[in-house]
Symmetry: C2
Subunit: 337 residues, 2 copies
């Protein structure tokens, strides 16, 4: 039955993915579909498709979001062997430190005035807590004080949180540079940096173009929350690789949504190929405002360079990049067959 549902719902996670959804519903008894998605790390529409198949089979019902029918409960108990609803804390991220609550509020006020999300550019705004959490995480890993930091795409305003945290801690940053293709954001960041006195350089740049020559091999750290596509990941991290000082131990921080196992193998494989060692992966680190393609969360991947960064993309990139590009190309493919 699990296999059948996985096939009908085209679930890349297979029967195991269906089982995880059923276990989540079983443990919660009643749960909104969005929370199921977050818990199992799948996009909401994907979970909804599986729910649909399980409803057809009389296993799930919509009572209180999603819940098991009588038949569903007996399937879960007898076929999956599940009986225990106890939950324990999982490894995770600490809450925003109390001493930084005010700072978080200040950041949230700034973030409220930023330009609207442009979905064509795979933008989606991380919550203020998430963005401040990133700044703290960077600080803890020696990625701020005295460091040259490159932010590749910044609709989340991570550079602003970094600047505000540096002010709060009274630390001196190295050269902090943002490369951003969205003119509205470039303007907005410029205004904020001016007003708040943040020593951050914002450059209008489509990352399909190579990074400015004077940044190559100059950075200690890069940060990116790239477009959702695997080519987006590969392109943005390539730009980061080009920017790092070519010696061992430089750092990359990559926020990236949970993927199917196959895609994850390709994604992590591409980081490895570029000469980066993943030393920490935190599944639910980033939370995003509003309903999101990827269930509203993404993982944080901390990378250490091996000293021989090998960008997979150099020069200008001409391929598909954003989710919308891929859809367009796929439709084009279909139309031409």
């Amino acid at each position: 039955m699990l296999h059948e549902v996985a096939i009908q719902a085209r679930l890349a996670e297979g029967a195991e993915g269906v089982r995880r959804i059923l276990r989540t519903v079983f443990m919660a008894e009643q749960i909104p579909v969005r929370n199921v998605a977050q818990e199992v790390g799948l996009p909401v529409p994907v979970v909804a498709a599986v729910r649909g198949e399980l409803e057809k089979r009389g296993i799930l019902t919509r009572k209180g979001g999603v819940s098991l029918t009588g038949k569903g409960l007996s399937v879960v108990q007898s076929e999956l062997g599940l009986s225990c609803r106890k939950r324990f804390a999982r490894p995770g991220v600490p809450p925003i430190p109390v001493v930084l609550k005010d700072l978080c509020g200040r950041f949230a006020d700034i973030a409220e005035r930023r330009p609207e999300v442009d979905v064509k550019l795979d933008q989606s705004h991380a919550t203020p807590e998430t963005v401040l959490r990133r700044a703290v995480y960077l600080y803890e890993h020696d990625a701020l004080e005295g460091r040259n930091l490159l932010v590749l795409g910044d609709d989340d305003l991570t550079s602003v949180a970094v600047g505000l945290l540096a002010q709060h801690l009274e630390i001196v940053l190295g050269q902090v540079v943002v490369l951003e293709c969205d003119g509205r954001l470039v303007d907005f960041l410029g205004v904020i940096n001016e007003r708040e006195g943040l020593p951050i350089t914002v450059i209008a740049r489509d990352l399909r173009e190579d990074i400015p020559g004077d940044l190559c091999g100059q950075m200690d750290v890069f940060f990116t929350d790239p477009p959702y596509t695997l080519s987006g990941l590969s392109l943005f991290v390539s730009r980061g690789a080009s920017a790092l000082v070519p010696e061992v131990g430089k750092q990359g921080f990559v926020s990236f949504g949970r993927r199917s196992p196959d895609e994850t193998v390709r994604a992590i494989g591409s980081l490895i190929e570029m000469g980066f060692a993943p030393v920490e992966i935190i599944p639910g680190f980033n939370e995003y405002v509003g309903a999101q393609v990827l269930g509203g969360v993404s993982q944080m991947i901390r990378l250490i360079s091996t000293g021989k960064p090998q960008p997979l993309v150099t020069g200008t990139y001409h391929g598909a990049l954003y989710t919308a590009d891929l859809k367009r190309r796929r439709q084009g493919d279909r139309a031409s067959h």
Copy 2:
């Protein structure tokens, strides 16, 4: 200066590694060398070598373990640009739940009577808290109830913690099998399982041999804390790959010490090659009893199978496996030149 020290101390982490050590000492003001090692994720002897080089240069002194000299402080401030000693909580593992404290005590009593560490086999005992934390982590990720679980090498007694937790939660495990080459441990586990009524099968097996044929393709989950070497990792995970049901979404849990960036790329690369997607990496998850080669901690790597597990090793393995083998071979190499 950082580069020079890294070269003299043969630090694979390079100048950045030296900087991290200096920052750790700077932040703590006075700190035992062992804690520095834990903090930066390097083996104690490696940190000690760097300390030696920094002492020669008048930057560190042994006051209270390790601390900066006046000259050292000015180097850290002016050359590294560090000024801030504030610390924030990092992402990490939750403490053992209060409801499991008694269970943890029971496990600790059992663990106290186990056979001594055999260093020739790269054994080293995880602390009771660590082993129970593993069992809870497995439970949270649906790796226990109704699941077939293979434990590859078990000097940590992870299978015992799993069995005790299952009793406590009143859940029914699938088939739980331990493959262990150390006859003393096989006997010990047999006695404990009998006495505690744990439904666990322990088989004497050197993992240089392939796993028993009737386990191939049967397991939902494997767990391993393999020998320290990269070939040990690759071999044990290969055995796990052979044991898993060949479909997407099956899980592997691998405890492995922090390595140099180059070795980490090779280690994670080998997991990727075997068709495993790393979905979580938790740096300090495992703590070990006593002074340890790898600074007393190791990371937990959670893997999801892509459904096409491709063990890098099949059949009997004839290469070097344990740290002692590698040393012997290296000495042999030298002797023969």
